[in-house]
């Protein structure tokens, strides 16, 4: 889960990473006050949880207070990649001498954190990686040892820094690693890290993505992952405890297991369009499945629902009862086709068939999808 720039910067400051003077505003009036306090000119930045904000017009510069109000209005009215701008960060405009890139992320295949630095700040790191990979320096970090101070100094030197600025840069690199480690981050990034004309290093931007699975260790952040999901149905599904991704089709989908869910979605796509991806995870109960079907049905204009579940860790016979509850209670009229195999499959089939669900007993999901397709064709003709 990504947190806002202003939240990331607050955490950066805790670890002594210098950030620009500024404040958060949710109205043009507040923006005006912040600008007055810190002095002009200012940078005004939309606080949204997606990358590519600058290119989408989410960052503005204001020379006077009139402009601050005008541009704040404009930004607070914006919607960037599906995220409504609800707050803006007003900061002193930095006098930039040069821009660097610092990032800590996880190398999944090596199973360890990796620290990256580059002299090419202010552009996307992927772009630098593509165009001039020789300008990125990186090193692995042993999870048990962390990033040592001498390792950070070595990276700072690779960017051509010497003397006091080198020590200062190494300090920021170390601190960023500390933020990454302390807050269970998947990614911590400062892009750009600005060196001002007075040779000060300041984190002009901040990205911090925290591992959802580790949020339980960070009650001090006061963040509920589900509150950060812009899509209403996705947010609701998260509260129930299932993964839901809203899509543009009309076939509702419920699967147990992400791999099976993706494979099912791929196959449905051959002839039809999935309305969603939904994966139950391994904690299936009667209530969870009832909740899952309710979320799926909330999206109007569905042509059918397709259910593909396996009884391994999941008690599918219990899940089936939840499905049956909803079909009965909500008097569901659209066709439901279900494939359910594994432990206690017979009991599961009986429950589903009891409420008129078409049960496919073959192993191949493709066959079950054919059955779904035929059912719909009949319905249309």
């Amino acid at each position: 889960m990504r947190i806002h720039e202003y939240e990331a910067k607050k955490l950066f400051r805790e670890f002594k990473i210098p950030i620009p003077r500024g404040g958060l505003a949710t109205s043009p009036g507040e923006a005006h006050r912040v600008a007055e306090e810190i002095g002009l000119p200012v940078t005004i930045k939309a606080q949204v949880l997606v990358g590519g904000r600058g290119k989408a017009g989410g960052i503005k510069f204001a020379e006077d207070l009139g402009e601050v109000r005008e541009l704040s209005c404009e930004l607070l009215d914006m919607d960037i990649k599906g995220y409504k701008v609800e707050s803006i960060l007003v900061e002193e405009k930095l006098e930039i001498e040069r821009e660097l890139y610092l990032g800590v992320t996880i190398d999944g295949s090596r199973g360890c954190p990796i620290v990256m630095v580059s002299s090419e700040g202010g552009v996307e790191i992927e772009e630098t990686a593509r165009n001039c990979p020789e300008k990125i320096f990186s090193r692995e970090v042993k999870p048990s040892q962390g990033l040592r101070a001498y390792q950070a100094r070595k990276l700072a030197k690779k960017l051509g820094f010497k003397g006091k600025p080198m020590l200062q840069l190494a300090g920021v690199i170390s601190s960023l690693y500390q933020v990454f480690k302390s807050y269970d981050a998947l990614m911590a990034e400062i892009n750009p890290l600005v060196m001002t004309r007075r040779e000060d290093l300041i984190a002009a931007d901040g990205v911090l993505e925290i591992d959802d699975s580790a949020l339980f260790r960070h009650p001090e952040l006061g963040i509920e992952a589900q509150d950060r999901i812009p899509d209403e149905l996705e947010r609701e599904a998260r509260k129930i405890g299932v993964s839901y991704v809203n899509m543009d089709g009309d076939i509702g989908l419920i699967c147990s297991g992400a791999g099976l869910g993706m494979a099912t979605m791929d196959m449905i796509r051959e002839k039809m369009k999935p309305a969603n991806f939904l994966e139950t995870g391994g904690g299936m109960t009667r209530e969870l499945m009832a909740g899952a079907l309710r979320v799926v049905l909330k999206k109007g204009n569905l042509k059918a629902v397709f259910i593909n579940i396996y009884g391994g860790i999941n008690p599918i016979h219990e899940g089936a009862k939840g499905i049956a509850d909803v079909v009965r209670e909500e008097n569901v009229k659209i066709p439901i086709v279900a494939k359910a195999l594994g432990n206690l499959q017979e009991e599961t089939w009986e429950t589903l068939q009891g409420v008129g669900i078409k049960v496919v007993k073959e192993t191949q999901t493709a066959r079950a999808i054919e059955q779904l397709f035929r059912t719909l064709e009949k319905g249309c003709g």
């Binding site: 480690k181 899509m247 297991g257 791999g259 099976l260 993706m262 391994g312 860790i313």
Partner: protein, 292 residues
């Protein structure tokens, strides 16, 4: 033979008194798994399905010989449990638990490397030696004994593909779920290597999915060192970038980990890649028929 386990591998179940631990212990005992003991701190002295429960692994090893740990404990305790098992000298750990913090997974993996232990997972369905035993949660009725090695990043999709293979009369030597988190403790390449060395395995099936670079790394190994034929399927061809599909690791971002890139590099390495899960068993059948 099989990889990682034998018919008489002795298992300790961590979290045996929990709802899932209890139920899965019953299913494993029915399948033939030798479960020597269970561990739940504070519940020492009890029994679950006749299996004695202890407070700690060190107490277990005083009275039983143990070859493997199976972990069902809730995610916040997974790291501690794996450390405890490794410190007691257990060399194979199957970590079923979902939602283990990634930083914990990195530490577990680092300790496994240092202790020369093998940790499968997190978020794995486990290991099954069809017809003999299983350490995990897979439904036994979807698998059958044979000569295909099966490695999967997904649980339920493995069941489907194993079921398809069985329907065509093709059994499996061992099936291993490697887990689908951003950091897994045993890589696809390591598992491929084990199957390459295993005499009973004639062919390997990889069930991959979007996200990460495991398949890309494995393709290099297959091209360079593998003699046995490999068949693969990659789930998530229609996944839009930036959307996390259930598994923490199943996300296409920063231009990495798309199904298309995985399919391409695997094909370049000589792997037969199925377009749909169903096609896996057909490809396997045609290769085995040609070869035998």
């Amino acid at each position: 033979m099989s990889i990682l386990v034998k018919a008489d591998t002795k298992v300790v179940v961590h979290g045996i008194t929990g709802r899932i631990g209890n139920r899965q212990t019953r299913l494993m005992l029915d399948y033939g798994t030798k479960i020597s003991a269970g561990v739940t701190p504070g519940r020492g002295g009890e029994e679950v399905w006749g299996v004695p429960v202890y407070d700690s692994v060190s107490e277990v090893i005083e009275e039983h010989s143990i070859d493997a740990s199976l972990v069902f404990v809730p995610a916040p305790f997974a790291k501690d449990t794996c450390f405890e098992a490794m410190e007691a000298g257990v060399k194979l750990i199957v970590l079923i638990t979902e939602h283990v913090p990634v930083h914990d997974a990195m530490e577990i993996r680092a300790m496994a490397n240092a202790e020369e232990a093998v940790v499968i997972g997190p978020t794995t369905p486990g290991i099954i030696y069809p017809g003999k035993m299983k350490i995990g949660i897979m439904p036994g009725n979807m698998f059958c004994p044979g000569n295909v090695g099966l490695i999967s990043r997904s649980g339920t999709l493995t069941y489907e593909i194993a079921g398809n293979l069985c329907d065509m009369g093709i059994g499996q030597s061992t099936a291993v779920g490697m887990g689908a988190d951003p950091v897994v403790c045993t890589s696809l390449t390591q598992l491929l290597h084990m199957f390459e060395e295993d005499e009973e395995t004639h062919l390997v099936v990889i069930v991959g999915e979007v996200g990460g670079t495991e398949e890309e790394k494995a393709a290099q190994y297959i091209k360079r060192e593998m003699k046995k034929p490999v068949v693969a399927y990659i789930a998530g061809q229609s996944v839009p970038p930036g959307k996390r599909m259930g598994h923490a690791g199943a996300i296409v971002e920063r231009g990495m980990g798309s199904a298309q890139s995985k399919v391409r590099v695997l094909k370049e390495a000589g792997v037969k890649v199925a377009e749909r899960p169903t096609e896996v068993s057909e490809l396997v059948k045609s290769i085995l028929r040609r070869g035998l």
